[in-house]
Subunit: 208 residues, 2 copies
DNA sequence: ATTTTTAGCTTACATGTGTACGCTGAATTT
DNA sequence: AAATTCAGCGTACACATGTAAGCTAAAAAT
C-alpha cells in the first residue's frame, strides 16, 4: 500500500461520478428520485446493473449523495449572491431572490430533488434536506442578529420565515413560464418585505 | 331505466368507497400515493385487481379523488375554526393555527397526500393540490380585504404568505413529537404576526 | 515473477407489476 | 318469462425490478 496508487482509484472515482451524473440527468419534472430504479441509472451510466454495488451500498446511499451535492450547489450560488451584494449591487432582498430564481432555472432538477425528498417516504432523506435548509436559516439568522437589534429567537423566526417563503416560491416557479416568473418574483419580494418590516415593527413595540 | 334503481348502484357506490378508504389507509409516513400499486389497493379493499377498473379508469383517477376528499376535509375543518372564532373564541391567528395543527395530528395521511403530490411527478396532481390551496388563499384574501384597507393585490400577497407559512409548518410538524409541536406552533404564530404587522405597516407608508 | 485484489461483466432467479380476456350469477329491463 | 346488463372474479402474459453467484482481466502488492 504505497507507490503510485493512481490509475485504479482514479478510474473508480470517475465511474462513481458517471453514476452520479447519470442519476441527475434522469431527474425531471416527470421523474423523481424516488421512482428511479437502479437499472435505469446503470443503463444511463453505461455500466452493468450489478456494478452499481461497487460504488454505493444501495439507491438510498446514492440519493443522499445527490442531496448533498444539490445542497452544495445551492449554497455556492447564494454565496455568489452575497458577494454581488457586498460589491455594491442592489437590495439584499431583490438580489437574493433573483439569484435563487436563477438557480431554479438552470438547476431545476437539483431543486426538484430537494423539494420532493423533503416530504418523501425516507426519513433519512427528509432529514438530509432539512439539514441543507437549516444552513440557510442559520446563516441568515446570524446576519439578521448582527444587522439589527433582534434577539436570537426573533432573528431565527424571521430567517426561517424568509427561507420558507423563498423556497416555496421556487417550487411554484418550476411550473411557470418565464414571464409568469417575474410576477412570482414580485410577489415573494413583497412578502419578504412584510416579514422584515413586521419583525422590525414588533421589535419596537414589545421586547419579545 | 326507471323504477327502483337502488340495490345495484348502491352496492357499486359502496365498493367505490371501500377502495377509497383502503387507499387512504395505506398512506403513511413510509408510503406515498405515488408508490402505491393498484394491486396493493385492491388487496387492502378485498377485491380482485381487475375489479378496480369497474370504478376508476386508473390509479391517477383514484388519486385525484383522494386529493379532492382530503382538500374537502381540510376546508370543513377550517370552517369550523372560523365558527369557533366568530363564537367569541380567542385570536384569529392562534385559533387557526391550532385548528390546522389538529388536522395534521388526526389526519396526517390526508395532509401527507397533499404535501407530497404538490411536488410530485404528475402535473394533474400538482394542479389539483394547487387548486385546493388556492381556495384558502382566496378566502383569506377576501377576509383581509374586508377587514383592512388593503388593496386587492396586497391582500392576496399577504394571504398567500400566511397560507404558505402555515402549510409549511404543517409539513414540519409531521416528523415531530407532540411537545416539539408546541414550539413549532409558537414559531408559526410569531411568523404570521410578522406578516400581518408588516403588511399593515407598509400600507401606511406607501400606497402600493 | 507470482500472488492478491477488485471493478466490471454475464447469467440467472424470484417477485411484483398493469391489464387483456372471458366467464358467472344476480340485478334490472323488456 | 326471457333477455340484457354489469360488478366482480380467475387465469394468463409480458415486462421490469433488485440482487445473488461466479468469472475475467488488469492493476497492485508481494
Amino acid at each position: 500500500m504505497s507507490t503510485t496508487n493512481k490509475t485504479r482509484a482514479e478510474q473508480k472515482e470517475q465511474t462513481r461520478r458517471t453514476i452520479i451524473d447519470a442519476a441527475f440527468r434522469l431527474l425531471s419534472a416527470d421523474q423523481s428520485y424516488a421512482n428511479l430504479s437502479l437499472r435505469e441509472v446503470t443503463r444511463e451510466a453505461g455500466i452493468a446493473p450489478t456494478s452499481f454495488y461497487r460504488h454505493f451500498k444501495d439507491m438510498d446511499a446514492l440519493g443522499l449523495t445527490l442531496v448533498d451535492e444539490a445542497g452544495l450547489t445551492l449554497r455556492q450560488l447564494m454565496r455568489q449572491a452575497r458577494a454581488r451584494i457586498e460589491a455594491g449591487g442592489g437590495s439584499i432582498v431583490r438580489t437574493s431572490v433573483a439569484t435563487f430564481m436563477e438557480f431554479i432555472e438552470t438547476n431545476g432538477n437539483e431543486f426538484r430533488l430537494l423539494l420532493r425528498e423533503r416530504s418523501g417516504t425516507s426519513k433519512a432523506f427528509r432529514l438530509a434536506v432539512q439539514r441543507e435548509l437549516q444552513h440557510f436559516v442559520e446563516e441568515l439568522s446570524d446576519y439578521i442578529e448582527a444587522k439589527t437589534i433582534a434577539n436570537h429567537l426573533a432573528a431565527y423566526y424571521e430567517a426561517d420565515a424568509l427561507v420558507t417563503l423563498v423556497f416555496n416560491a421556487g417550487a411554484e416557479a418550476l411550473d411557470l413560464t418565464k414571464s409568469k416568473r417575474e410576477q412570482l418574483a414580485e410577489k415573494v419580494v413583497q412578502q419578504l418585505r412584510y416579514v422584515t418590516k413586521g419583525s422590525e415593527s414588533l421589535r419596537h413595540t414589545k421586547r419579545s
